[in-house]
Symmetry: C2
Subunit: 329 residues, 2 copies
């Protein structure tokens, strides 16, 4: 299948909102008088940095639950005003970002509800979309444009120090608008993410949760699991696991160093898709297990020789580096 054919095959699922469409009209940068960042971790702080660099916001208000985070965010100048109460942060804001674990989206939405400005865009960056829609929608007042979103970008680090303005560059941002979403609001949010350096697509929320289930959630679950298996082995000391980790294990520890609260919430809230994908993964693993037990070299070779092409296509799509070992030193 050619790349073009593949792109067109995926079109029923996802509609790119950049490229050809953007070329038809002038791609002016969006500007918001006031942007509220609810949550000032990796994503919130990166949004602050890129908005400052690109001049996307007049003022930025920031909210975080912990005083420590707020204090550090203030030291870093991540916003112009800081609030422990998210409702205070969203007052008069034209664009509100919910950058909290997906399990906290509902309670936060409920809390900010009375303070949301009519005409404001309310969006989020959660890794699960159906649960966010389920939890947030009931709290969205008439006249506020709720557009769920998810930038496919991150690192294993978290907290207000973890952000940097290039985080979203050349990464995809998926928006999962609800039926009847205001086109102007959707267009403005699309241009916001494009101004952050992202490619933007819209996608059905259920499909999003399945796609991210395989490209993000299952990989993290597997990474956490293998680190746990290694840590619990009685026959191999932890010191040995650490010393000889360059054989491959170290790669998994990076994903497994991600924020445990964020990931707990992802698995609690994308349960069905993850369990379905985990079932497939285990079936495939049982087949490999049997091939090893039976000494079926041809079967192993066949499975192992398929993956190079996918790696190459990921590199060609600009989603990873061609440098060996990720170019790390």
């Amino acid at each position: 299948m050619t790349n073009e054919a593949k792109a067109s095959a995926s079109r029923p699922q996802a509609n790119e909102r950049s490229g050809q469409a953007a070329a038809a009209k002038p791609k002016e940068k969006p500007f918001f008088e006031k942007v509220a960042l609810i949550g000032l971790g990796l994503i919130g702080s990166s949004l602050s940095h890129v908005m400052r660099r690109e001049g996307l916001a007049g003022t930025i208000s920031g909210a975080a639950r912990s005083e420590k985070t707020l204090r550090r965010a203030a030291e870093l100048g991540l916003a112009d005003s800081f609030h422990q109460d998210p409702a205070e942060a969203v007052r008069d804001a034209d664009l509100v970002f919910l950058n909290v674990p997906v399990g906290a989206m509902g309670p936060v939405a409920e809390r900010i509800r009375p303070a949301l400005k009519k005409g404001a865009i309310l969006t989020d960056v959660g890794s699960v979309k159906q649960s966010v829609i389920r939890d947030v929608s009931p709290h969205v007042p008439e006249g506020v444009h709720f557009i769920p979103g998810h930038p496919i970008a991150g690192t294993e680090q978290s907290g207000p120090d973890a952000g940097f303005p290039e985080l979203f560059e050349n990464r995809w941002c998926l928006l999962t608008p609800l039926p009847g979403t205001d086109e102007k609001a959707l267009d403005r949010l699309t241009r916001f993410w494009q101004a952050c350096g992202s490619h933007v697509e819209t996608m059905d929320p259920a499909h999003h949760d399945l796609v991210l289930g395989i490209t993000s959630h299952l990989p993290h679950l597997i990474a956490y699991n293998i680190v746990a298996t290694a840590a619990d082995l009685e026959e191999v000391t932890e010191s040995e696991v650490i010393k000889y980790s360059a054989g491959g294990f170290r790669d998994f520890t990076r994903l497994a160093a991600s924020d445990p609260v964020m990931w707990r919430d992802v698995f609690l809230n994308n349960r069905e898709a993850v369990l379905e994908l985990l079932g497939r993964f285990m079936e495939d693993l049982h087949a490999l297990q049997r091939a090893i037990r039976w000494g079926e070299g041809d079967k192993l070779y066949e499975v192992f020789s398929r993956s190079r092409r996918i790696r190459r296509e990921i590199i060609e799509a600009g989603q990873d580096t061609p440098a060996p070992n990720f170019g790390r030193r």
Copy 2:
């Protein structure tokens, strides 16, 4: 457990042959009149580069099965003479490296047997040690010092172009000498690897195969498996898997881009350890699966929050970069 306590806990299993021990006697660089590299892929070509840089060999002879590899190796100047017959390459060599897939070790050893020089050191770089000992030992002539070895270093790339002189720097090299191994030969090979930038330890072959089973073999099997699962999903297009791979999946594709022949042979030859470890991994995964199904957030959080420490210790041990996302661009 402190780092010191852990290091001492691992001591019954592995004996470091550098550091304090090396400080006691002058650490002169070993020099071999002639070194034979049987196999000129990633490891063979990296050995050539580092030997040239450090002046460890008078002349280097190279052997490879395929004419294409030999031709390319000649263009790159990886050796001073090139041979399709490994027996020709090892003639008069003082140090012979077997850099071939572990399944090929036995046949190659049988072939070079009549040409090995008395007093020569014969070693290998295979990822499994018990099978190499089983397959190579019967072909080692009296007076030749066979010392199995394994540098824990690599990239996802293979072939004569993949090598670089820093590959072994600050990586561990495990030697699994047989009972009665000549101490002088062992010391000379140890100093060779130290001159390549490696830390050297000796280890029992069975323990090696278990340790590498968890730090290298199982991670590769899991990586190959998840790439296969993703590729076979009918509900998610391959184009989507590639585009949104930055959510975590892309990391696995790097390991899964490794040489399929090398890895087929590893699993066929370290069957018992891999099946045992795979069993543990699956048990742990079933526990996580149940925690997700039952919505046990505390259990998930507990497992997820354990791994950050291991990541930190790997970084502190100099075995990975602290830079987010491996510092890749």
